[in-house]
Amino acid sequence: MNRKRIENSLKDAVNCAPQLPVEELFTMPYIKMTEHDYITKQIETKKNSNIRQFTTAVACSLLLLVLTIGWYIQNRMPDSIITLDVNPSIEIITNHKDNVISVNALNEDAREIIGDNFSAKTLEDTVELLVSSLVEHNFISTGKNTVLLTVMNNNNKKADEIMTRMGTVINDSLTERNIMPVILSQIIDEEADRAELAKTYHVSEGKMELILDMISDHNELSIDTLVNLSMEELLKLARHYHMDLSKYLSLYNNAIIPAQEDAGDTQKDADKNILEDSKETDQNDSGLNEDNPSEATEDSEANDDLKEDNLDEEDKDYDLFEEKPDEDVREQMDKELDDNDKNSDDDDRDNDDRDNDNPDEDNANDGLIDDSDEDNQDIDKHQGEGDREEDSEAEPDDENAEEEKEIYDNGEGDEEDRVIYGDGEDAEEDTEDSLEDND
């Protein structure tokens, strides 16, 4: 029996039932109620429950929104911006947990570094991968080893900590590849104008900060001339203009020197390269060596005081870094100076001696021969006891010469004309230098 038949049977059966006549029903007495009772009470319709469902749906949506916002703040909200500039400019954005949110290429070369599918979670891994990629693509090599590391974070303490960590990562990564890096580093604040400029010129804010710093005191320089230079070239230019880059070197001084000290011969080769480049740059740029042979242009000792305004030309040609020059270079320097000025040679020798005695001292004044320069007194402070550079040209030299002569005359010196002052350990070395100078 189908559905329709069943229903029709039911309907027919019900329709057969006798019904009340409506007229009779209308005449029946009824009670006019004053209020609903349990029989006539109107029940809430589903419309109200719809409102309840809607309210529940809205509450769930709001909860989901809050959770999403919370997740975003925890994981996707930028906290630090770290940029690496070699010539490629790369920007790394991290959250407050130092997990990488995004890695962005700020110029065309950087896109080559990052590639299509760059993914690394931690900041350390990201920086290491980027450095590897920079080396593979030959943007960093033995001859091109300058990196600018910039950190932006509202919390200076955290920014400093990130800068130190990343500097170490970069250094370790490059030294493993026998590349001695020169790491310039800085912490900068958000600045809308600089950000705008950086965006316009397709460089990082860190590089723009350096460029602005460089042109601030040199009207002949402009953003357009500097913006396309690599960090290597900018550094050379800075040296040429004798700019104060000390604020960029703090990380290097603190974090890199221990690693470089362990580098041994590799470090010395790197130093030699830097110095040779510097020499070459100076020769090409100014020709000072030719005109003023008395200048200590080949002094390889680093000068801690990079403020060079008060120094004469011949005093300015020194390396920016504090590493000790290797012996070959020093010998060469000594020879050249010896040809030009005997007193200058003596001073160099004296200064060299002290460097050997106290390698951690500031040895900035080696080769600063110009006795007439009053500022040599400041430099003198960094020298060891017993080595006081005097104002007048003749007196300290004469005194030293006399002292030596006295020693020789008295036979107190040994056969190799040992220099008495300084540590005994270095006496041999000093003696060798003395012998060469006296030849």
């Binding site: 029996m1 189908n2 559905r3 038949r5 069943i6 229903e7 029709n8 049977s9 039911l10 309907k11 027919d12 059966a13 019900v14 329709n15 057969c16 039932a17 006798p18 019904q19 009340l20 409506v22 007229e23 029903l25 209308f26 029946m28 009824y30 009670i31 006019k32 109620m33 209020e35 609903h36 349990y38 029989i39 006539t40 009470k41 109107q42 029940i43 319709t45 589903k46 419309k47």
Partner: protein, 198 residues
């Protein structure tokens, strides 16, 4: 046979064609004002549905008729208290259900606990067609309360499943599943009884 059927159904040529039952809520204020026309209009529109609903609960013709009468008297007494909520038929069914439940409590549950007693009951003697009577008795005997309510309302009043759900306060899924279950039960029962009319 078909001709005979058509003759007997001359008075109601559209007997099996349901008219959509639509009650305007504005009728209640008129009933409250003792408008006879409005009352008759409401009665003629809804009394079959109210009776079948009461019958599905009470399973007794006389009791169902009593509840039918009380329902419309209650409507007359509470028409002025009615708040428009968009479902006037649901309100009428609520009154009918409450009255039927109250009557059940008063007279006790239906004594038709088994088919044999139901078959012997002459209450449905007014049903002239044996098959119709058989089907009605089967529906009132083997089906559960909600199944009876749903299938009778669907068959007699022509309410759609969604309207039944709204009027009885049930979900559409419940109404659909109970309706089909009820039909299956009836088919099986009637088949077992040798009733295979298609």
């Amino acid at each position: 046979m078909i001709l005979f059927y058509m003759v007997t159904d001359q008075e109601n040529p559209n007997q099996y064609k349901h008219r959509k039952i639509t009650v305007d809520e504005a009728i209640f204020p008129r009933i409250a004002e003792n408008d006879k026309v409005a009352f008759e209009e409401l009665y003629l529109l809804t009394h079959k549905s109210v009776y079948s609903f009461a019958l599905s609960i009470l399973r007794n013709h006389d009791d169902a008729l009593d509840v039918l009468q009380e329902t419309y008297l209650k409507i007359r007494g509470a028409a002025h208290l009615y708040r428009p909520m968009g479902k006037p038929i649901a309100w009428i069914f609520t009154i009918t259900r409450n009255l039927a439940m109250s009557k059940l409590r008063t007279v006790g549950k239906s004594c038709y606990l088994n088919e044999e007693l139901l078959e012997e009951d002459l209450t449905f003697s007014y049903v002239t067609d044996r098959d119709d009577k058989l089907v009605l008795q089967a529906a009132l005997t083997i089906l559960e309360l909600e199944e009876r309510e749903i299938i009778l309302l669907h068959a007699v009043s022509g309410f759609k499943h969604r309207e039944i759900a709204d009027n009885l306060g049930l979900s559409l899924g419940t109404v659909l599943s109970k309706y089909h279950r009820a039909l299956e039960k009836l088919r099986k029962h009637l088949k077992d009884r040798g009733y295979n009319h298609e």
